[in-house]
């Protein structure tokens, strides 16, 4: 049986007195898309850069495609998209992709890849004159041009407009279809939910939850509605079956959880009628990954 794409055990990374990665363990399956989610400073980039062989760990073990991250024999097998930069400012987009393609034995056609990512018109534009989104796409192209088995994408859609983001998602889907393993970091919950087979939520350098998007969001459904802020929820809670919860978060947005059935819906709307409240956007939904994420990592800004 093949070794996993990435296997990290008890990973430790410190910068001076700051512990960026604190006993992190994760496994990314071959041929699957794994999303690493976490707030800023959670240790996402440190973890991914250790896997890419850019920095040594201070403890724990890391195996990438069954090899040590620094192994030169690993280099042709992985593709890397850094969070930003990595390209000489004066080099033209097309030249950079062509150069990178020359490092591999069986590269994709750089021109076709440029065209695919909507970069053909900018092939002769120096990197520094490309927009942020164009720079990101060029970086993505360089990560896959060598036909790797595994690609690491560090915030691949940061700064992309909606069209470019969808193009990136399509590409990731196609990589997965071709049997490429993908490990990506992201802040976008919808991205993780849409793209990945496996989601790992990390915070303070540790894994706080992992599973498929469905496992993480659970089967439980919620009743959500918007109304004027400051409604007294105690009354409706008294009328609801035991075990139900109701909260206002953020102001004016109400969430009722529990066994969501027609009678619960009737109770809530009856209470609204009694209060003289007209609700907006009343809906019954599954929890989103964002809810799970905020629950696990808190709401405070970092």
């Amino acid at each position: 049986m093949d070794s996993p794409a990435v296997e990290v055990s008890d990973l430790l990374k410190r910068y001076g007195r700051t512990t960026a990665v604190d006993g992190l363990t994760l496994r990314c399956a071959r041929g699957r898309v794994t999303a690493i989610l976490g707030p800023n400073g959670a240790g996402k980039t440190s973890t991914i850069e250790i896997c890419e062989g850019f920095r040594p760990p201070d403890g724990g073990t890391v195996e990438v495609l069954g090899m040590s991250p620094g192994d030169p024999a690993l280099k042709p097998r992985i593709g890397v998209m850094p969070q930003s930069g990595g390209v000489p400012l004066t080099m033209r987009g097309g030249e950079w992709l062509r150069l990178v393609s020359r490092f591999y034995a069986h590269p994709l056609d750089p021109d076709a890849l440029m065209e695919r990512l909507g970069l053909s018109e900018h092939a002769r534009t120096p990197f520094r004159r490309l927009s942020g989104g164009q720079q990101q796409r060029l970086s993505l192209a360089a990560a896959v041009v060598g036909r790797p088995e595994l690609v690491f994408l560090d915030e691949p859609t940061a700064g992309l407009d909606p069209q470019a983001r969808h193009a990136c998602w399509d590409l990731v889907g196609e990589l997965r279809g071709a049997g490429v393993s993908v490990v990506l970091t992201t802040h976008h919950m919808d991205e993780a939910e849409k793209l990945s087979d496996h989601v790992v939520i990390i915070d303070h350098g540790r894994v706080v939850a992992e599973g498929t998007p469905a496992q993480l969001t659970g089967a439980e459904r919620q009743l959500r509605f918007r109304a004027r802020p400051g409604l007294n929820l105690d009354e409706v809670l008294a009328a609801l079956p035991p075990g139900s919860t109701a909260k206002e978060s953020p102001a004016g947005h109400y969430i009722v959880e529990g066994h969501i059935d027609p009678s619960l819906l009737a109770t809530v709307t009856a209470w609204c009628a009694a209060e003289g409240v007209t609700t907006e956007d009343l809906s019954i939904e599954r929890r989103t990954l964002e809810d799970v994420f905020l629950e696990l990592t808190g709401r405070e800004l970092r």
């Binding site: 850019f54 850094p82 930069g85 591999y104 065209e115």
Partner: protein
């Protein structure tokens, strides 16, 4: 965005080293030739100095001025490319994560350094051709064995590359930019490039002779102007600088 059929099925493999190094060397050479500030340092200033000091009676030397000035300007050309240009370019490559990004490709660090060296030599070849052509047009008549001159230029290239990489590997990119230009100007002034060393007080001449630029200018001059054999002293000074700076750089160089 169109949907060109692209086969992403993994087919990993590194290209042969020669192809990787050649591709990187061509890219680096192109970057130098396209960069206006670098061309000023590598081509325009040397040629202007050659014409100015070769024609105008600014300095007093025995023999034709152009025969004195040309070897110095050739040495300056090597310094501008191997040291100043390379230090600045490498500093900014580190700053913008290019060295790090290349580290994730199959191109090894040794391969990258080899490519940089080849790019430096390619630019130097162009410089030597241009400067020699202008010098010949101004009546330059070199003597001596050109092999010794080429050997000196090569040793100078290694010494100045070591110095440039040492600087680029430890200073911030902006500091490297400032320091590399400053060192270029100072060494241009005191290294016997166009101003004869004999114009300096005897007390400092001994120290000046130990500088890599002085070793290169005096060595080049003794071969091309005086027809001397292999200048062992200057060559040893250059090799000592090369060994010291490369050893230090290999220990201190930060790739990101």
């Amino acid at each position: 965005m169109t949907t060109t059929a692209l086969d992403f099925t993994p087919r990993p493999g590194a290209a042969p080293l020669t192809r990787m190094v050649a591709a990187q060397a061509v890219a680096e050479t192109r970057a130098v030739l396209r960069n206006g500030e670098q061309l000023l340092l590598t081509m325009i200033i040397p040629v202007l100095l050659l014409i100015g000091f070769g024609r105008a009676p600014i300095i007093t030397v025995s023999g034709p001025r152009i025969d004195f000035v040309t070897p110095g300007v050739l040495a300056l050309a090597v310094m501008s490319t191997a040291f100043t240009g390379q230090a600045i370019a490498t500093g900014f490559e580190r700053r913008y994560g290019v060295l790090k990004r290349l580290g994730a490709t199959p191109l090894s660090r040794a391969g990258l350094l080899l490519a940089k060296t080849l790019a430096v030599i390619a630019v130097e070849v162009i410089q030597v051709v241009v400067i020699s052509a202008v010098a010949f047009a101004l009546g330059w008549s070199p003597t001596g064995n050109p092999i010794w001159a080429l050997l000196l230029l090569l040793a100078g290239t290694i010494a100045f590359s070591g110095l440039g990489l040492l600087m680029a590997g430890i200073l911030r990119a902006e500091a490297t930019l400032a320091a590399a230009n400053l060192v270029y100007l100072v060494l241009l002034g005191i290294g016997g490039v166009v101003i004869p060393l004999t114009d300096f007080p005897a007390s400092v001449q001994g120290v000046l002779h130990l500088l890599p630029i002085t070793a290169l200018t005096t060595g080049m001059r003794s071969v091309l102007a005086d027809g001397a054999g292999l200048p062992v002293g200057p060559l040893l000074i250059l090799l000592a600088w090369a060994a010291a700076t490369l050893a230090l750089a290999s220990r201190t160089f930060k790739w990101e």
